[in-house]
Chain length 418, copies 2
């Protein structure tokens, strides 16, 4: 196999980081108007365990419906993952489902696998018929493009981009009894990003996680759900939950290391690696948010429960007034306090304190006696900022990652595109 | 009393529209940096029945706390309403409550009334101490400015403006047995507008409704809650619920007409007039939303319940992707369908249809066969647009008014203001 062309200039992954047992590929099927890579796949050397979570949006794209069925029909043993960008195949009715199925059937013939062992994923515009013939026509070239290098995986990361400005990948590895377990993931997403993934499927964030560990289907599902909850489900750019969000964990077993609940050390090592890769990918999505000038880490503590803390973090992350204040480097803590108050969580405003980095801005519901507006303004001029809210109550806490809201976000999303 | 200066050029109200039994006034207390009118009052000729609803934000501004107490202490019989703009007196702790109380005490002495019969209201920046001395110093001038003309009421509407570009007023009247009952209201608000008013008080939308009907306190409260629910509680500009929102209905009785549940014709006439005035004021707020280019009337029908319809309307109204598409005159119905799906309401996507005006865009979950993109684009170039969503289910329905999201909104709210 030739090395792929059109990879990003700085390698995202080392060769050593790529999980064994998979090959990756990407081609131009002519869906993106830009003519860039838009159709990608990953193939397992032999059918391998997969687990997936999907968006909780009630409007579910056709590929998500088909992916659910195929996971069930194959008993979570997949041969191929197919992903296109530029068309979400959503709100396309039965014709959309038939289109996704037809691409899987043709891919089964071209790649020599059972079509039910194929997981399709799509991202792009909603409500436009999937260009089936273009995809089917590109299948032989996609098969020819397969390879197991880091560059091949990076091409896959490029092909699934939509409004992303850069491809996103992360990797981790750990050793078990002298053998190395590798985990690597790619993701895409820059807008319509507020994943609320549930095991009963649906998202337009896509994330594909590959490992050469061997994991049983039920355990893989448990590990994925646990990792997603504190990573992908803790980010929001605009509060819009997509119809196509999909996260897949795929385990080839090629490392010869089995991860099971019984082997607690290896399982703990895998869990850490998985969380690390998921968190890195989730934060890369936030950092590439549409038009953003600030990436914000929210730390909410002192809540009655972790769930209360999360509801408050979401209320802050979705307040246009808070987000525009951040865009202006304005330490307008009153807007944060107001968002906390309207979150629906029972809080005592006179116990709420707010910090920018280590700078106390609001102390027990009022302006902090230590407030230094100029220092706060300077702090907010950094691209990455940390906002800490102490509710002064219980031990509930969470971390959440979000962005500011800029005029550029509005420009990107108000361009006449239909 | 001299006619006030500085009224808007086109009269908002006719002399005949002004409810009898009140006087109104406004002065410059030096709170607004612009030097515009910023301190206003309304005085009843004699203590008169008042009902009020306040924001449901848990962070409640000091004037709201004091207003609640005074409504209770006076048994809903008020002599004076005091409102300032430029400072919300919120997140100001006990000092803020004492500041509001002190202004009421001094006003009681200047206006010759019980301080507990005074309802204070504030709007403006959060977390900055109320400039008490400026307000107290302006009280004699405020008293001297009182008058009962339409121009006086309009000055009050001007004084409570913050980022509003124009004062807002509405009036209605009806006859009962040859006597005229007048109802007039003023309001302000252009951002931080998603009122969720509850009878257990708290809002930075302010609305003051005056009538010369005679109404018992409990009945006034019931009438106000009913009218607010389908008007002020059905608008959103940015989804941010303020800490200071307040709506007051004040009944002087000067018309000599009593409105009571027993007299069903008069009560129905009053209810209609109240809803008409509240709806006009609520829509004027939306029409003056910060930076907006589109005012959007949402009609949701075919829902399982009215509450489901309302949750879906709010999800659409708060989707940045939907709002930016409107800003771009882009009939991107996929974003609307996605927002419907992520509202949390159990819907069947294959039954959802979407219309812009009378143009069907989405039919039963997919693109409408009747879609004419150019016609839809032209329709969306109007300033006022109507979006109708038919969920194809039950008989639940609602109307809701919202706006687009423009780069100008971001500019207004990201200006460094702290």
């Amino acid at each position: 196999m030739d090395a792929p062309s059109n990879v990003s200039h700085q390698p995202l992954l080392t060769e050593e980081a790529v999980p064994r047992g998979f090959r990756f590929g990407a081609v131009r099927a002519g869906i993106k108007a830009s003519g860039n890579l838009d159709f990608a796949c990953a193939a397992a050397e032999k059918p391998a365990t997969a687990a997936a979570v999907f968006t909780s949006n009630r409007v579910v794209a056709a590929p998500v419906i088909v992916a659910r069925r195929h996971l069930q029909d194959s008993e979570q043993r997949l041969s191929l993952l197919l992903a296109n960008a530029g068309n979400a195949n959503c709100a396309t009715g039965n014709a959309g489902i038939e289109a996704a199925q037809r691409v899987c059937q043709e891919a089964g013939a071209v790649f020599g696998c059972n079509s039910h062992a194929i997981l399709p994923a799509s991202t792009g515009i909603i409500g436009v018929p999937l260009p089936v013939e273009k995809l089917i026509g590109a299948l032989p070239a996609l098969r020819a493009a397969l390879g197991s290098s880091a560059a091949h995986l990076e091409q896959m990361a490029q092909a699934i981009m939509t409004t992303d400005t850069k491809p996103k990948a992360a990797a981790a590895s750990f050793d078990v009894a002298g053998r190395t377990v590798r985990l690597a993931g790619i993701t895409k997403g820059a807008g319509m990003i507020f994943p609320r993934l549930v095991s009963a499927p649906h998202a337009t964030m896509l994330a594909f996680l590959f490992t050469d560990a061997e994991i049983a289907p039920l355990h893989a599902a448990n590990l994925l759900e646990g990792a997603v909850e504190t990573t992908f489900n803790r980010i929001s750019i605009d509060g819009d939950t997509s119809t196509n969000d999909t996260v897949v964990l795929w385990a080839s077993g090629a490392s010869g290391v089995a991860i099971s609940p019984a082997q607690s050390d290896a399982a703990a090592g895998f869990r850490r690696a998985l969380e690390q890769v998921c968190l890195s990918l989730a934060k890369q999505i936030v950092a590439d948010g549409e038009g953003i000038e600030h990436m914000v880490e929210l730390e909410v503590g002192g809540a009655g429960s972790d769930d209360d803390a999360l509801r408050i973090a979401r209320a802050i992350a979705h307040s246009p007034l808070v987000k525009t204040a951040w865009a202006g480097c304005d330490p307008n803590w009153g807007r944060i306090l107001s968002a906390v108050g309207s979150s629906g969580v029972a809080i005592d405003p006179s116990q709420v304190s707010i910090f920018y980095g280590d700078l106390e801005i609001c102390n027990r519901g009022g302006v902090s006696p230590r407030l230094d507006k100029e220092a706060a303004h300077r702090y907010l001029q950094q691209r990455e900022i940390r906002v800490r809210i102490n509710l002064g109550g219980g031990s509930g806490a969470c971390r959440f990652w979000t962005t500011d809201l800029t005029a550029e976000y509005v420009r990107i999303n108000s361009a006449y595109s239909t």
